[in-house]
């Protein structure tokens, strides 16, 4: 049991921090422009696919840098020539635009990279078990993912609180007009933040591609969960995004690991149930089954009881 | 008993104290103006009375009922209507539809799903009459968002007056209007608030002295004087708060 829990915790941390790479960019973009970017996970997918394709020529390491740069540039273009154009039609139109973009990117990936799963492997350098515990291997690549995510988090924190650019960005989220009056180019800041957020998402994609498989549905599987995270964490709060990412990552990982069912619980309190009971689906529910439902359940509960999220300041 | 009572109302946003120990009695049928320098807390006072914000402490009693914890729509249903300093209309509905929406509840339509608006001839006639009264009949089918600034101000006024509420709160109804428009608006307010109670915030002293039976002066979040226009004019404290500027100035600032 203890070994299962340790590995579940480690995997949960890896997933949680990966989710944070996505959620942080999404949160930054939201707090700056007030728009939740539906296509954010699509940039994550593009990152994985670009890294896969580039990696075939250059190997993993150059792709790790090149793919995020490429996707970040694409993101900046999307902001400059797409989102900004839609901005005047209001927030709903912006949300619809990013939704359409997500749809378009998924179709494009399917059309040009194919509908099949790509054989995207971790680099040979990291393709070994880092340690073995209770007879189970923990891959070095996952440790690498952890390391990079933590590095990015520290870098982001430092960059936002200690550098001039970071200060301007922070100021631009709370007092955009003042920042513009001080002579800073607000539209340019928007483009840069959107591009940087996309690049972060792409980096997450490059890292996750070999572990979570690279296929056209990977944006949709993760996209909604990242949305859940930024809402649970509180729209616009980076700390909230971190806490919620880890929470969701760990929760899902534990739920999958701990095979407890409703029937076990009922049995434990001394209630047996007939196997053909009309509510048998509910009796038969088990935690691993519920794992994919948990984030959404959490979201709905959160929005009912505490709509501003864990660390939210402003209402959506 | 007074129609509206403010009892020791305080309001602070964070550390900023906007209103301190404000007590006011508004009698039924009077036209009461609140004046004061910018930042004196006049709009905040309206926001508290109409339920947009909650008072930090103190009580607000309307028709003998404490309303300081009620949501805006319940306060409105008790017979209170307000206008906004910055026009707050339904921009994608026509001028006519805007007024019709304001008339729905007073005319007993509520949220009916069984009555058809085109068939509601009395309601439509009322909306048209009101449109005529505020001088926007020619702009009947123009979207509110496409009206000119002055027309939007007038429509804003129309929305507050349409409700037929007993207490009407007008937040700077003539701000930004030229002399002629302001005079029309004042005449309109006079006409429509006949037999009603009016609470008015206004910078235009011409409008205030023309409309108000009583005036309260708000400065630094406190009521420093209440009285008839003549009393207020003569009050040395008020003159000091205004540094003599606005009180002697008879022309409105456009």
């Amino acid at each position: 049991m203890i070994d299962v829990l340790i590995f579940a915790t480690l995997n949960g941390l890896v997933t949680g921090l990966l989710l944070f790479l996505l959620a942080s960019g999404l949160t930054l973009i939201f707090s700056m422009m007030g728009v939740l970017n539906f296509a954010h996970a699509s940039f994550y997918m593009l990152g994985a696919y670009c890294a896969f394709s580039i990696g075939q020529y250059t190997g993993f390491w150059p792709a790790l840098i090149l793919a995020p740069v490429l996707v970040g540039g694409f993101g900046a273009l999307v902001e400059r020539y797409g989102l900004r154009h839609v901005h005047k039609s209001g927030h709903v139109a912006e949300l619809v635009f990013t939704f359409g973009l997500a749809f378009l990117i998924e179709q494009a990936v399917q059309s040009f990279w194919g509908a099949d799963t790509k054989n995207y492997q971790p680099p040979a350098l990291l393709d070994f078990p880092l340690f073995t515990l209770f007879g189970q291997d923990f891959p070095a690549y996952k440790a690498f993912m952890l390391l990079v995510s933590i590095g990015i988090f520290i870098g982001l924190y430092w960059g936002l609180t200690r550098t001039r650019t970071g200060m301007i960005i922070q100021a631009a989220t709370s007092h955009p007009q003042t920042v513009a009056n001080l002579g800073h180019n607000l539209p340019l800041i928007h483009t840069l933040v959107f591009g940087a957020g996309s690049a972060l998402a792409a980096l997450a994609g490059v890292l996750a591609g070999p572990v979570l498989t690279t296929f056209p549905g990977m944006a949709a599987t993760l996209g909604s969960i990242v949305f859940v995270i930024v809402v649970i964490g509180g729209l616009g709060s980076l700390t909230g995004a971190l806490v919620a990412s880890l929470l969701i990552g760990l929760l899902q990982s534990w739920a999958i690991a701990v095979d407890v069912g409703m029937a076990d619980l009922l049995h434990w309190v001394g209630v047996e149930f007939p196997p053909d009971h009309p509510l048998k689906d509910i009796w038969r529910l088990s935690l691993p089954q519920l794992a994919p439902v948990l984030p959404y359940l959490l979201l709905v509960l959160m929005l009912i009881f505490h709509p501003s999220g864990l660390f939210g300041k402003r209402e959506g | 008993m007074s129609l509206l009572q403010l009892q020791a109302v305080h309001k602070h946003f964070g550390a900023t104290r906007v209103l301190e120990d404000v007590s006011l009695n508004i009698e039924a049928g009077e036209r009461h103006a609140i004046i004061g320098p910018n930042g004196a807390g006049k709009s905040t006072l309206f926001d508290l009375v109409s339920g947009r914000h909650r008072a930090s402490s103190g009580h607000i009693v309307f028709r003998g009922r404490a309303i300081d914890t009620l949501p805006p729509h319940e306060i409105a249903r008790l017979g209170l209507a307000r206008s906004f300093q910055i026009s707050s209309l339904f921009p994608r509905l026509s001028a006519f539809e805007n007024l019709r929406c304001a008339l729905l509840r007073p005319q007993g339509f509520g949220l009916s799903m069984t009555r058809l608006l085109p068939r509601a001839s009395r309601l439509n006639a009322c909306a048209d009459a009101l449109l005529e009264e505020i001088g926007l009949a020619a702009r009947r089918d123009v979207l509110a968002g496409a009206l000119s600034y002055a027309e939007q101000r007038t429509l804003e006024l129309g929305l507050a007056l349409a409700s037929g509420a007993e207490l009407i709160l007008l937040d700077e109804p003539v701000a930004g209007m030229n002399r002629r428009e302001a005079e029309q608006a004042i005449a309109l307010i006079r006409r429509v608030t006949q037999g009603k109670t009016l609470l008015l915030v206004e910078h235009d002293m011409g409008a205030v002295f023309e409309l108000a039976d009583r005036i309260s002066v708000l400065a630094g979040g406190r009521v420093i004087a209440t009285g008839t226009p003549t009393q207020i004019r003569a009050n040395p404290q008020v003159q000091q708060a205004y540094l003599g500027s606005a009180m002697t100035e008879d022309t409105p600032h456009a």
């Binding site: 619809v96 939704f99 359409g100 040009f112 | -």
Partner: protein, 404 residues
């Protein structure tokens, strides 16, 4: 009389279409259109009329549909037997019930928060559908037989054409009901709350109640559409309440134009046609669909209906003809440009070998095929851009008010 005319035309269209397209495929597409029209109209009660952007409208469609499928299955398994003409009502009722439950908390706020809750609920239901096998039937879904109910006016509904008759009646009635809703105080206040919730509150309206009412009515008609779906396909799967289905209805409504009552109907018709016709010609149809959707949001925020309605003023002034020449001057290079871009996309998709494009065999191994398409695209784009100012000018003078 004047306001009855569109309804007479609509009824005649519904009557005549099966005579014009009597083939099995034709009738099947007509059924799909009818379902899509009801679904999209119900969606626009939220988005266009009420300002609520939902990413989970398939929940009410799907739940209604599943209920209908269970009702059909029940007739097979010895449950109550009743006329299948009432199936959409059963489905609508279930959609309504779900909307009451979910709407009671989701309509508290509009905007981004509402969109997020709708997405969360949508994903929740989609995930649950795979777990709760007895109701949702797991991978296989729930299927029933629509011909087991008592015959109605001699129809046993075994054939698609009989289902069409039923669907047409339900579509007409639902469309009329949804239109009339927009003319009630409840419908008008939904517009008001969309525009300015705070002002509506100061007029004495409980904003959540106003939204909830629209939401419930919308849920009912989404359920009706789901019931029609169950009758047409006789099977419901988890796919039908997934976020993909929710996305589709958003696409339809937006491309049609959410600012107009008829917008979603036009969108439903166009998208159903694209779905069933374009997909025969190219594997990339979903890509083109996504592309046209993004371009619509960017350049035609009022959708296809908005585009049509723009021509009302020039038409009334008899100046439509003056637009013909500039339209051609822009249209030809635009078509050429899109044509060559599509050719490039098709070749890119093909990877190697040759691809048939409008009767043209394009060989991806030959550089000139790429080069030719690329050059044509660039040249046509240039011509397109050059023609825009004169189109704008012509448009301006055609739609300008006459000097008094």
């Amino acid at each position: 009389m004047k306001h009855l005319l569109p309804w007479i035309v609509f009824a005649l269209l519904l009557l005549m279409l099966p005579w014009l397209f009597p083939s099995v495929l034709g009738i099947s597409i007509l059924n799909e259109m009818a379902i899509a029209i009801v679904f999209a109209l119900s969606y626009n009660m939220l988005l266009g009329q009420g300002g609520m952007l939902s990413f989970g409208h398939a929940v009410y469609f799907g739940l209604g549909g599943f209920m209908a499928a269970h009702a059909l299955l029940g007739m097979e398994l010895g449950g109550p037997i009743f006329s299948v003409t009432l199936i959409p009502l059963v489905a609508g009722g279930f959609g309504l019930l779900a909307a009451v439950l979910i709407g009671s908390f989701s309509t508290r706020r509009a905007g981004t928060a509402f969109a997020m809750i709708s997405l969360g609920v949508g994903e929740l239901l989609a995930a649950l559908a795979l777990i709760l096998v007895s109701f949702f039937g797991g991978e296989a879904g729930i299927s029933g037989d629509r011909s087991l109910g008592p015959a109605f006016l001699g129809a046993d509904f075994a054939q698609d054409s009989q289902v069409y008759a039923l669907a047409a009646v339900w579509t007409f009635v639902s469309t009329l009901a949804m239109y009339l809703f927009t003319q009630t105080p409840a419908g008008r206040m939904a517009n008001a709350v969309r525009d300015n919730p705070e002002r509506a509150a100061f007029l004495g309206y409980n904003v959540q109640r106003v939204r909830l009412l629209s939401f419930i009515v919308s849920g009912f008609f989404a359920g009706v559409a789901g019931g029609l779906f169950a009758l047409h396909y006789e099977i419901l799967t988890a796919q039908n309440l997934s976020t993909t289905t929710s996305g589709n209805v958003l696409l339809m409504s937006y491309i049609g134009g959410v600012g107009f009552f008829t917008g979603p109907m036009i969108g439903a018709v166009v998208l159903t046609l694209i779905n069933s016709v374009l997909s025969h010609y190219t594997e990339l149809w979903l890509l083109y669909l996504g592309l046209s959707f993004v371009l619509t949001v960017m350049f035609l925020p009022q959708g296809l209906t908005g585009l049509l309605m723009m021509h009302r003023t020039p038409w009334r002034r008899g100046r439509l003809r003056s637009l013909l020449r500039p339209y051609l001057l822009t249209g030809i290079p635009a078509t050429l440009c899109l044509f060559s871009v599509f050719a490039l996309l098709e070749m890119l998709h093909q990877g190697s070998g040759s691809v048939m494009f409008f009767g043209l065999a394009l060989n991806t191994e030959q550089p000139w095929a790429w080069l030719g398409a690329l050059l044509l695209a660039i040249a046509a784009a240039y011509g397109w851009r050059r023609s825009l100012p004169s189109l704008r000018e012509a448009w301006r003078s055609a739609s300008q008010e006459d000097a008094p």
